[in-house]
Structures are given as C-alpha cells and as structure tokens.
C-alpha cells in the first residue's frame, strides 16, 4: 500500500506536523482550495487521529481517500480532490 502511495505525484502537500487537533484538518481545509481538481493532496501530521479525521472528511465532502502510511514519527495521509 505505502509503495503505491509513495509513487503518487502529489500536487499539494500540507505540512501540519506539530499542530494538534483540530490543526491538521484546518490546514487541509485551507489547502484544498489551492489543490487542482482531481489533484492529489498529501497531509503530513504528527497526530494519528488525522487519519480517520481525513477519511470521514473526504467521505462527507466527496473527495477520495487514497490511504496513509507512517513515516519517520509522523503520518502521510493521501487524498484526491473531487469537485462536486
């Protein structure tokens, strides 16, 4: 799974490491506007809760959740922006 994710070309990277809830979700919300349609956004977060937060957020907002993996002490969370 993480190999596939690593191979993705990321359009928008959001570095939310070092912010606690609700920081990463708010950073994602801020950045999604700049992400192109069908673009890949990757959120870097040191808060494990971000994974399920972003999963649910994508489900509600109509984006596609692609997956996540743990990097060196933080998580990389991948999603695809779908314009409704």
């Amino acid at each position: 799974m993480s190999e596939e994710l690593k191979a993705l070309s990321v359009d928008t990277e959001v570095d939310a490491r070092g912010t606690a809830c609700p920081g990463p979700l708010l950073e994602a919300k801020r950045a999604i506007a700049d992400c192109p349609e069908d673009g890949i956004m990757c959120i870097l977060s040191s808060d494990e809760g971000t994974i399920i937060d972003v999963q649910r957020w994508c489900k509600k907002m109509g984006h596609e959740y692609l997956g996540d993996y743990e990097d060196d002490g933080y998580w990389r969370v991948f999603m695809k922006k779908i314009e409704e």
Partner: protein, 184 residues
C-alpha cells in the same frame, strides 16, 4: 375541464404548498452551539468542535451567554461602568485566558499548568482557536440580556469580525434551521 383534472390540479397545488413548507423547515447544514459555562476547557471544546464543523463547510453559530461572556472580554478595553457593573467586572475573568478550569482548578494553578502542557503538545490556546474561528467565518452571537445582567459592555468585547448582539428569539431561529444544536 373535467372534474377529475380539477381535483388533480388542486392536489398538485396542495402538494406544492406542502413541499414548500417542508423545504422551509428542512434542517440546513448548520451547527448551533450555545455556550454558557465560563470554563476555559469547555469553551475550548466548543471552539474545537465549531472549527471541525467549519472544515466540513457547515455554517456555525455560537451563542454566548452568562458565565461564558468573559471569554469574549478584551482586558485592554475598559469602558465606563456604574458601581455594580464595576464590581461584577472585577469578579469575572478579564479575558478568555483568565477563565478557570472545570476540573483541577487547584486554586488558580490548574489553568497555568494546563496552558503550559497544551503548549508542550502544540495544542492551540483559546485565543488561537478564536483567530481560526474568525478566519473560518464562525459567527459569534452575544446575549444582550446576559450582558445587561453581568454589566458587560459592548465596548469591552474583543474585536471579532463576525459578532453581533441578540437575544433568545434569534438563537431559537438559528437552531430551528440547524441540523444540530448543542448547549454547554
């Protein structure tokens, strides 16, 4: 026109009216939070949830009343007050950062400790959360009745872009349109 088409037309008219009424009363993607507790931690929770909802593109209305009003006080602003107002003003926390905790108050040490621990874990302070709330368009409504009772003046309220002053009539109107309403 036959009697049958007449009654069909009437049925359609009735149905349209009903649909219009349902649409008017259908809950919108809004969250209403009533904040009454003057505790630092509970007010923080209210803002965190409000911000989460804003990230979901929900409109958020927060109604501040009674003990929660000091959360909106700006300690640098000192309007003229009568004796009672001054007394109340002195007894109430002068700003959000001076509010007590609901638990582990420990004679005033609790809030300092929790603020230090929160900083250590990069959690946002109430002030920072309020800045985010302003950016995300979260509306704050201040209860004018509680302001009168507690002697809190508009002139001492923080500078916040989406703030207004109203009563329960408006708050009920808001939560009757919202999907969810919480009171804490």
């Amino acid at each position: 026109m036959s009697e049958e088409t007449m009654s069909q037309e009437e049925t359609i008219k009735k149905l349209i009216k009903r649909v219009e009424k349902l649409e008017r009363n259908a809950p919108q993607d809004k969250l209403c939070i009533g904040v009454m507790d003057g505790d630092y931690d509970k007010t923080m929770a209210a803002f965190i949830i409000a911000l989460g909802a804003a990230a979901y593109d929900m409109e958020v209305d927060m109604f501040f009343t009674f003990w929660a009003l000091p959360a909106l006080r700006d300690p640098r602003k000192k309007p003229k007050k009568d004796f009672l107002g001054k007394m109340f003003g002195a007894m109430l926390p002068s700003s959000a950062m001076k509010m007590p905790l609901s638990k582990m108050q420990m004679m005033g040490m609790g809030p300092k400790m929790i603020q230090a621990v929160m900083k250590m874990h990069n959690a946002k302070s109430l002030e920072e959360l309020m800045k985010d709330a302003a950016e995300f368009g979260i509306r704050i409504h201040v209860c004018t009745m509680a302001m009168d009772v507690m002697g809190i003046k508009k002139e001492e309220i923080i500078d916040y872009p989406h703030i207004d002053y109203l009563g329960v009539g408006a708050f009920v109107g808001m939560f009757s349109e919202a999907k969810q309403c919480w009171f804490m």
